[in-house]
Symmetry: C2
Subunit: 342 residues, 2 copies
DNA sequence: TGTTAGCACTCAACAGCATCGAGTGCTAAC
DNA sequence: GTTAGCACTCGATGCTGTTGAGTGCTAACA
């Protein structure tokens, strides 16, 4: 059996209705809808077919139908008609985004807030992979006797800083001199090229080898591992509680627990390098606790490279239309803010 | 009617039991407890008196009794016997705390985590008031053409940094020179004395007045307002969901909403300068949404001054004993980490 | 006079049962 | 191919009776 025009129409009507109400949809409801000119009985026949084909589920015999994950998949791939954001909305989002500091973490934090506000779902943003950034400036600031703060400024802005230990008795002036050398050698290099640059630096080192070595190590560590917890940022964690899917406290707890594990989140949001929207529905995201959630992700760029991920986690019956529009817009906006960086 | 020995004993037994079970306590339950040698009937008479005196509430006629807020007040003021943490626990907490970077925010973040883990409640920590800190080092790092990152290192560690705008065409070397001047003049001054120091600097300014002026402004702004959102940090927000008091989703939502408003939290945790533990029970905290929560707070020092607040928010029937012990210990530990700062 | 046993009473929680109604599947007529 | 009609299903709702934890009161006891 194949899906004909009418089946598509009815399936779409069911999904649209279910996204709105979260209640099983009956044949009468669909029949009454404008654009569907059939009686409940006809709809019922079609629904029965759709159930057999795996697009609908029936919670119990005398209830309406509920879209299956397969239906959502079909919906996002073929049925969905995209809606535009109003220019008003766009402006508001843009405004909230740029009115923040030039620090990468700050920008991302505000972006996560904007995302969750605009969608009423939970948003997650992964900070730019350091490997895609270019160094503009490196500076060591003395902090204590044997400690210095390393600030790395990249083309995306200020990257979170790290404290490194330095040799005893190093003065502020000496640290500054080292900083100058570092900046000189590393400026405009992608972080990936840091290794070679450092090797060279170490060969004809005027300054303490150990210091340079440690600095290199720190940069490298951040480069590969993807850094510490703070580079996965969650917006509107409590939004999910608004939906009847999570009126069960223990479910809500599980959900919040997932949000607290930054590693899990990073894995959940990982994606290939393409700039396209990716949608994972229900079990497709491989995490039992999120079995009735969908995750929609997009990429943002810094400079020329695809660099980080922004995403929305919501119930499988989420408003995919709107979420996609918002993510696309915010992906571009975020790319702009982090790239065109003045 | 006055409270005699026996009434104290019974009241304490009731509170202890209720804290454990969150279920109305009956006379038989108390009677069976070791240390109470009376029959249920006697207990009932006493309970009746205690209810009349306002220490107990009865949800309905045939239910047991529940401690009133007045009872909790009496309990924490007089009845409670303090328990010690095991040295094992202390060590574990200490370990988790110190194994972190030297940045104030990082230390506080990890402290909040330790607190919420140790108590199973939600923890909140307010970052040190800048006015109590002493400057050790100020440095401007070039970020873009007309922007610089100002890093302030204090006796507590690295204070969150701010981006300020600088005059066009300022080189890194010039910025460094300004930084040196700033550091020289401000070193070891409390942030409060910054104003005078700056006035002096401005009078015989070798470097650009505008830059110095703006830098001063930034420092001052952070000094008075108490800074931005990131200096109130919440640990274990989802812990509250474990308690039957919050099995109602809408209650849980309200609670989480409070945690998202950093301003409200800062007000909730405000306290006089003393180092003593403060306990606010139920309505005492003036916030309807937290009417059946208690808030226990303690202070920590940086150097010689009382400087910031750490607190626990939990149900009114929380384990005050343990919470107080944990807060006292962590207050000291946090003071040490931030003060003895090597 | 303080303590306790006994007893009638109260009331939330729970299980059982009938009712209701939204929704279905099937059949027959259009 | 479409639709009206109808019997059927089953969760939700509400009513009822039962149970049991817990109380207050009274009277007996030490």
């Amino acid at each position: 059996m194949q899906l004909d025009e009418r089946k598509y129409l009815i399936l779409q009507a069911i999904i649209d209705d279910y996204i709105l109400t979260a209640m099983p949809v009956g044949s009468r409801t669909i029949s009454r809808k404008s654009g569907v000119g059939y009686s409940p009985a006809t709809i019922r026949n079609e629904m029965s077919d759709l159930e057999e084909l795996g697009y609908l589920d029936q919670p119990h015999t005398s209830a309406g139908r509920v879209p299956s994950n397969k239906a959502y998949r079909l919906y996002v791939d073929h049925l969905m008609k995209t809606v535009k954001l109003t220019s008003d909305e766009r402006e508001r989002m843009q405004d909230h985004l740029v009115a923040k500091s030039k620090q990468v973490e700050g920008v991302i934090r505000s972006a996560a807030g904007v995302l969750s506000d605009a969608t009423k779902y939970t948003s997650v943003i992964v900070a730019p992979k350091l490997s895609t950034l270019r160094i503009k400036h490196v500076q060591l600031v003395p902090v204590a006797d044997r400690l210095a703060l390393m600030v790395i400024v990249t083309n995306a802005g200020i990257v979170k800083d790290a404290v490194i230990s330095v040799p005893e008795g190093m003065t502020a002036d000496e640290l500054y001199a080292v900083s100058r050398t570092l900046t000189e050698k590393l400026a405009d290099k992608p972080l990936e090229a840091v290794r070679q640059a450092f090797a060279e630096l170490l060969r004809n080192a005027e300054y303490n080898r150990k210091l340079l070595g440690e600095t290199l190590q720190v940069i490298e560590k951040r480069l590969e591992a993807g850094g510490d917890a703070s580079d996965v940022i969650v917006g509107g964690p409590a939004n999910m509680l608004e939906y009847p899917e999570y009126s069960d406290v223990s479910k809500a707890r599980n959900f919040l627990a997932v949000l607290e594990s930054k590693d899990t989140l990073r894995k959940l949001l990982s994606r290939d390098g393409s700039m396209e929207i990716s949608i994972r529905i229900g079990p497709e995201n491989q995490l039992p606790a999120l079995n009735d959630c969908s995750i929609v992700t997009a990429s943002y760029r810094v400079g020329d490279h695809s660099s980080g991920t922004l995403g929305i986690i919501g119930p499988t019956r989420m408003n995919y239309n709107r979420v996609i529009s918002v993510l696309e817009f915010m992906g571009r906006a975020l790319s702009d803010v982090l790239s065109e960086y003045r």
